[in-house]
């Protein structure tokens, strides 16, 4: 662990990285000095810091938790801010698809949480195991009780691999088994399996469960990239890619769903709807799907990409904070108002990120837009006012098509396309969208995490 930590704290950019950088970095250097100046200003304490003695607890040190912590630390004078999370490593999850398709090394998605927690913010390195919102307190795994006046819940979601009989995350990378979601190691192992598969080709199976997903575009990106990698290797003709969706569609925004299906028809990627992956025999390379009529269909494969069903973590699902009715109750998602992101029953609690029971939008892009809203609304409540800002459900997804091309899709909570800049054509293959994913999104992510944008 120690060596791991020192490696992470002292990144040693290789010569190759250094050379590659040249072309992208140089044009920006003209404005670099003004950027430095502006950011130095942004990092200084906010002029009108709100004075308070409030105790604020943030659950989770992922993108949402850290973005909130950095913002609150800047906005408040005198608050006691505590982050609760055992995880030491910070993972840039949007980079997993690049790792899993052989574009990035996995080091690019690994950082340390410690480097992003502002000084003065307490970090309790334990998991929360019980919420008692009526008493305004949380219990941690060592039995510690932490009291709060206000709380932000940002503990992400739970990958339910266990719901697929026979699935073993340790086996990812072997026997043609891939799954991009689990971890940086799993993403790297997925690329190993995909790379082996593309040498000869064969039968590939791509899956999609029937739950809300974090980055619902990721299974589609993996499919486009697999097709492209097979073509590069000259083994596409010898291969068949079948997509199995547990739903009646593959993406919840109709215009994107239709566009991707049209492209897949052109690429010869047939889709089987309402097929839910329920079991897998990893050694025998067989997948079982349940159909709406209760039948089980078994398929052999050479490569499979498994996307697990997802829900709120059990600690929320089994607490009074979970949604009690409607479509969000099934996954036990945090019961927040979809506009203010305030808990519907406990007004001193807000939700941020993947945990929220809001339609669509389990992405880093959602956090980019919603973190400032959550923090401002919390400040309003602390000042005895009503939440003043409303979230429109924004999310975005650079949908990888192949190396060098992506679609830059942005939409709101109602599924309307909402490009940030009017000239962007969301359904157009774009190198710029690729460049964003490949080089610009991680710096943007870090700016969100540090509470600057």
């Amino acid at each position: 662990m120690a060596s791991d930590e020192s490696r992470l704290s002292h990144p040693d950019p290789s010569r190759r990285q250094f050379l590659k950088l040249g072309s992208t970095l140089l044009p920006f250097s003209a404005v670099a000095s003004s950027a430095l100046l502006s950011t130095a200003q942004a990092e200084a304490p906010a002029k009108n810091q709100q004075k308070t003695r409030a105790k604020i607890v943030i659950i989770g040190s992922g993108l949402g938790g850290l973005a909130a912590a950095n913002r609150l630390h800047r906005e408040l004078d005198g608050a006691k801010i505590t982050i609760i999370d055992r995880k030491q490593e910070h993972n840039y999850q949007p980079g997993y698809t690049l790792v899993a398709t052989g574009v990035w090394p996995k080091d690019k998605v690994r950082d340390r949480n410690r480097d992003f927690i502002p000084s003065g913010v307490e970090w309790v390195q334990e998991m929360a195991i019980e919420f008692e919102p009526e008493q305004n307190r949380v219990r941690t795994e060592s039995g510690k009780t932490i009291e709060y006046d206000y709380m932000i819940v940002a503990l992400g979601l739970q990958l339910n691999y266990g719901a697929i009989e026979g699935m073993d995350v340790k086996a990812i990378g072997d026997n043609g088994l891939g799954s991009v979601y689990y971890s940086p190691d799993a993403a790297e192992a997925t690329w190993k399996a995909m790379d082996q598969f593309r040498q000869k080709g064969g039968q590939a199976i791509m899956t999609l469960p029937n739950t809300f997903l974090k980055c619902a575009g990721a299974p589609l990106k993996m499919t486009f990239m697999l097709d492209s990698r097979l073509r590069e290797a000259g083994s596409r003709q010898a291969s068949k890619i079948d997509f199995y969706s547990a739903l009646k569609n593959i993406f919840s925004v109709k215009v994107i769903n239709d566009e991707v299906l049209k492209r897949w028809r052109g690429l010869d990627i047939p889709v089987n709807f309402e097929h839910q992956l329920t079991a897998i025999d990893i050694a025998a390379r067989k997948a079982s799907f349940s159909l709406p009529n209760g039948q089980i269909e078994q398929r052999e494969y050479d490569f499979i990409h498994v996307v697990p069903p997802m829900s709120a973590p059990d600690v929320i699902r089994q607490s009074v904070l979970a949604s009690t009715e409607g479509v969000m109750a099934k996954g036990g998602w945090l019961e927040v108002d979809k506009k203010t992101l305030q808990h519907k029953r406990f007004p001193n609690i807000f939700g941020l990120g993947d945990i929220n029971g809001t339609p669509r939008g389990k992405t880093a892009a959602t956090i980019k837009k919603s973190a400032p809203i959550v923090v401002q609304n919390l400040l309003d409540v602390m000042a005895g006012k009503s939440p003043s800002l409303e979230f429109d459900g924004y999310t975005s997804c650079p949908l990888l098509l192949r190396e060098g091309a992506a679609l830059l899709i942005e939409f709101d909570g109602d599924g309307n396309l909402t490009p940030s800049l009017p000239m962007i054509e969301p359904l157009q293959d774009s190198w710029m969208a690729w460049l964003m994913k490949y080089r610009l999104l991680k710096p943007a992510y870090l700016s969100v995490l540090k509470g600057r944008v």
Binding site: P13, L19, S23, P27, V31, A32, S34, G404, W431, V453
Partner: protein, 109 residues
Amino acid sequence: MYEIWLTLNIVYELMWMYLPAVVVLLLVLALVYGRALQRKKCQWRAAIRPTLMVAVVVAILSLWLVPVSTHSTLADIAYWVDWANLMAICAGVALVAAAIVWPVFSLRR
């Protein structure tokens, strides 16, 4: 306004990510301008023409190099937004190249 702020922050984070390259660039600039400014008789005006020529060559080369250095090719530049961005990046690369060679050319007798 927000987009400009976001862009500045992206540039700032990129600089930290690639700090060694930024330091080398700044050192090179300090070196060449230091030398040129120490000289009494620098041909700044006469250096403009060759500097512009270098900038044009670098810009043209960048049209090919920038995509290649980002796991792509010129064939991936699909529509005018891509072209506009690529050309802006190439112009930036050319500007930096010009900033480096201008004092160097000005030192020529």
